[in-house]
Symmetry: D2
Subunit: 350 residues, 4 copies
């Protein structure tokens, strides 16, 4: 059994982690911290956990996180990087669900998150936690930066094409849409039901934090060095859906001559042949967000609507594969467990 | 033309007032105040008003409300009662959309709203603004307390039965449900789309502020003096609907012997025969909230599911007939205009 | 391993059964029939099942249902009663998710379902499948009539009060609301998103098929013989919620003198002390439908809003505890398995 | 007063036409036909029209459409083209809300709508009814083909750029999303609330009927002759939103060198300076579908996210500007009325 701690579990990635870990056969939940809610039983805030999670929130001091084997940070950006050093030194593995260990370039981090990075040495050591594209490095990591929800879907959609060199990578367009849970459980006007329901809009149109993460990772997938960084450029445009869970990405690229000749369906099926959580749909499909609801599965369909154009459709549950499910998948890798342990979730439909 | 001011127009009752007044043939919007948003064009906060409302929010000082003929308070509870005296003394009519002039009993007000009433003399003079049940008094009023959204639907549903003495009034049950806009445009967790959507629950189960308002008015309709106040008692249970606009009330009562013999459909049709905004549906109907969306209409169906039981179904738009539309209806009465002026709104369906 | 067949699995109770049985450690899915879709892989209709269910729909002839140990009927009303005899004679247990074995009185069945009952002898033998209230009989049954979704919630809400004789049972009011999945996966106008979304209404106001089921069972719980059937009468009023899954019942009753003196919270906690799937919430609670989403749990809160009145709030997932989850619970009882096997589902929230 | 007839008014474009015409100061509604519902009062099917529309549906024979001055076809594709000849010969103006007079090329019509065109001479004479781009022709027309909902938003978004020659028109991408009312009031499984709610997906991925309409019109706007038709090509990808009303189009194009140097905001503001129903938002904006709900307004924002890329965001109400509102706008033009008569609708928000 792995002793698990969670820092800051009052948000949606926290409750989703708890939903998954409560049934994980090898995880033993030891502590969950919240300064503000210390003393409150977790199940009082999240009644779905009644009967499954008996813990109460504790203060960080009482949590004895150093006695855990792994600590998940389900906190705002900036928290994990200030506490990771102490945990790592104590031999505790760290999985951060925020952005502290996503961007390898500290200057980029500072630009987009408005604070200097607090531990650039750990950042350098840390591993980007997208198992399908980075599995071996994750197995050996001490710190995992769990990917952003949008970047997960965009990378998995473009990866086979970039890996095989089939597209003109300098002009990618990722038109994405997310449910409101991606904005977290924060009291804000723009995600009130009265504002966001029966409505649809683009947002972050002047630039969104997931843009640099997407571009940094797409370059890595395409094996393009920083000196030629302009060769990979993805325009990322997020939209806000009036649903709770789910991300849908509609990805566009122009095919180069190799791409125009390729059997794209075969390329995708081969690339993901052994992946438990990536489902390449039959040719001609259009995946629905609900087909992966509450599961760790990503479904992908690849289309060639014009002879020189590829369109990839990707769906994921932003709280599961886009956050907490992927974090558990990373935990399984870190501890040498079967990668899908505790994640064998049939999506809930309807 | 009537010069109109609005105090505190940043909430949903504010934007709904603006939607209605922008097209009202006899209203000239002079000022709308918001300390916090002073200087911001109204249409920047509410883009639906672009091209219809040119005003910017102003501070109360700059608003020159005493030059208006009527001032609407679309403010939190407690604001109108502190400013009404000065306006009334200057000859300005006041319509309060909050609760300051709803409860006639100052002790009840203090109990439910947590503050002493600031002007009990004006409270005594003020008139409860439900035109269908209080029209003549409103015409002569200086201060109108605009009814709560739930109480409007509950009173209009029970009024014919209480007026005619057909039910056992001591055990009424009002099972009601409202869209989230009734909670206002406040940053709160429980009305986030991620919380309130795809969900349903009762709330205020330990007592809701609209309960005493309902009971005070039902007693008045039943002509029961305070000394026999227990003869009218309504258990009011609100529920939160995952929709933006709309209230649905399912009202239950046991029929007394007169009621069991009565033709209830005829009673309702007669009672509301001349009412422009109350539509008694044919026998056997079940009104939908969307059938009154964005309009000032209330639709009512009366049923006798058991020989000794009456059930009344009532729908209204909580922001229109339940708030701002009713306020405009009251303004029309105050100024001797046709009662439906500016309110001739075809409900939006689908 | 139990060999399982499903007749008519193309509807929502069918896909929910498959979601549950796909992970059930003791169930082996042998066949699923659909005349219309014979040959189509189940996962093509329900993409959430990709990777979990490999079966294709077959014709009833090809299904060899008599080789199964249990057959679920997820069919329209009237199908199970025409096929049950043959299966039962072959030693196959039958669980009907439709209404064929819910109403004990064949005349009532004919009145509400518009067809004569095809096997009144089996009807007499059959057992009403609400485990919490009928567990021992279910264990020994050959045919189980799985309860309706609404009746499950209404019975579990009133049972402690009726069992203990604490209420005036002749005037019960069950004000209920259900998500649209309760209407099934049928192409109908009134449950289109364009019709049912952003909307709320009562329906079935002239009488709903679940009314007689509720009353028949409440009489049984209250141990009232048919000769005194008027002593138990429940007015059941369903409403249509703009959500997919979930039932919320708001139950009202007047307390008799015993009830007025009783500690109702203690009564409920005692009654359900050993029940795995019934969660009595702390005093003062208001359960939300989402707190049981996609799980077999029912949550109940009991209130005494007036000295002589009790209000019970009940939530369930209509497709799980209200249909397929309860059917699996019954299967577990029929085969002597642990009652919660395969049903240990953490509700999905948000 | 203009005498108006409607053929086939039982769908959503029909009820929206009625909502608008009921308040139009110069329209007198004479007849509305439905073979299937003949005799039923319109307000029985659409309760929002109670008190506003007294007509009942009639058979086409009883409707005396030739006595009208204008007839709207709110029918399935193929109906208008079979009845237009007779009406036009009788001097009646025809506005078809279906596709019969949208595509100028009869071969394209037959390919996409699966039937030969029944009156190619009238097709040649007919005018494409997008007033902002075709106003003078509409004024003189006898038959107007009312544009599709998606094509309206896509054309208005690209028009300033194509008209001014600022983009590489051979690789346009229109990523669009629509509420379910665009699919009409038809009993179909895929638009049930249980299917389409809490969900998002692309659809029509193998080709959608609005694709050829978009391309034909964009060529016209760009003044590209058929011989060089490949110079304009737009990849159109629709998605299904879980809302009732609203279309959101996210349009992408690469800027040519003229476009890279242009002040795009100024280009759009100049192009639409005198348009009553097109609102160019301030730079940096992201329009919301709800900001135009139930109105005839289109809101547009233009962005330059990369030096060589333009992105245009467009919102409209698919039933109003995307269908019935635009049809009324066309009627106003046909009869020399003020173009906005009866269309002065403040959008409903929230």
């Amino acid at each position: 059994m792995i002793d698990v701690g969670i820092v800051g579990g009052t948000g949606y990635t926290g409750v989703e982690l708890l939903r998954l870990l409560a049934r994980h056969p090898q995880a033993r939940l030891r502590a969950i911290t919240s300064r503000k809610e210390a003393g409150m039983p977790v199940a009082e805030m999240y009644p779905n956990l009644r009967g499954y999670v008996d813990l109460a929130f504790t203060t960080p001091n009482d949590a004895k996180l150093k006695d855990c084997q792994v600590v998940f940070f389900a906190t705002p950006h900036g928290v994990a990087m200030s506490q990771a050093r102490e945990l790592v030194d104590a031999g505790v593995k760290v999985i951060d669900l925020a952005a502290d260990f996503r961007l390898k370039d500290p200057a980029e981090f500072e630009r987009w998150y408005g604070m200097p990075h607090a531990c650039t040495d750990l950042l350098e050591e840390s591993v980007y936690g997208l198992p399908e594209l980075n599995r071996e490095a994750i197995r050996k990591a001490r710190i995992v930066g769990n990917p952003g929800c949008y970047p997960t879907s965009v990378q998995l959609g473009y990866a086979p094409l970039l890996d095989q060199g089939l597209i003109e990578a300098g002009h990618l367009i990722a038109n994405c849409a997310s449910g409101t849970s991606g904005a977290g459980r924060k009291a804000e006007v723009h995600t009130l039901l009265s504002e966001a329901s029966d409505n649809f809009k683009a947002y972050g149109v002047k630039g969104h934090r997931h843009g640099p993460e997407i571009n940094e990772q797409l370059r890595r997938i395409a094996r393009v060095p920083d000196s030629r960084r302009n060769e990979v450029s993805c325009l990322f445009v997020p939209h806000l859906l009036p649903i709770v869970r789910g991300i849908h990405s509609t990805l566009y690229a122009r095919l180069n001559s190799a791409g125009q000749d390729a059997d794209l369906q075969a390329v995708f099926e081969a690339f993901y042949r052994n992946e438990r959580f990536v489902d390449v749909l039959p040719a001609g499909s259009a995946p629905e967000t609900r087909s992966v609801r509450a599961s760790n599965t990503v479904r992908i369909a690849v289309h060639k609507p014009l002879p020189d154009t590829v369109m990839v459709l990707v769906v994921e549950d932003n709280l599961t594969k886009g956050a907490s499910g992927q974090a558990v998948q990373n935990m399984n890798l870190l501890f040498g467990l079967e990668e899908s342990l505790g994640l064998d979730l049939v999506p809930v439909l309807p």
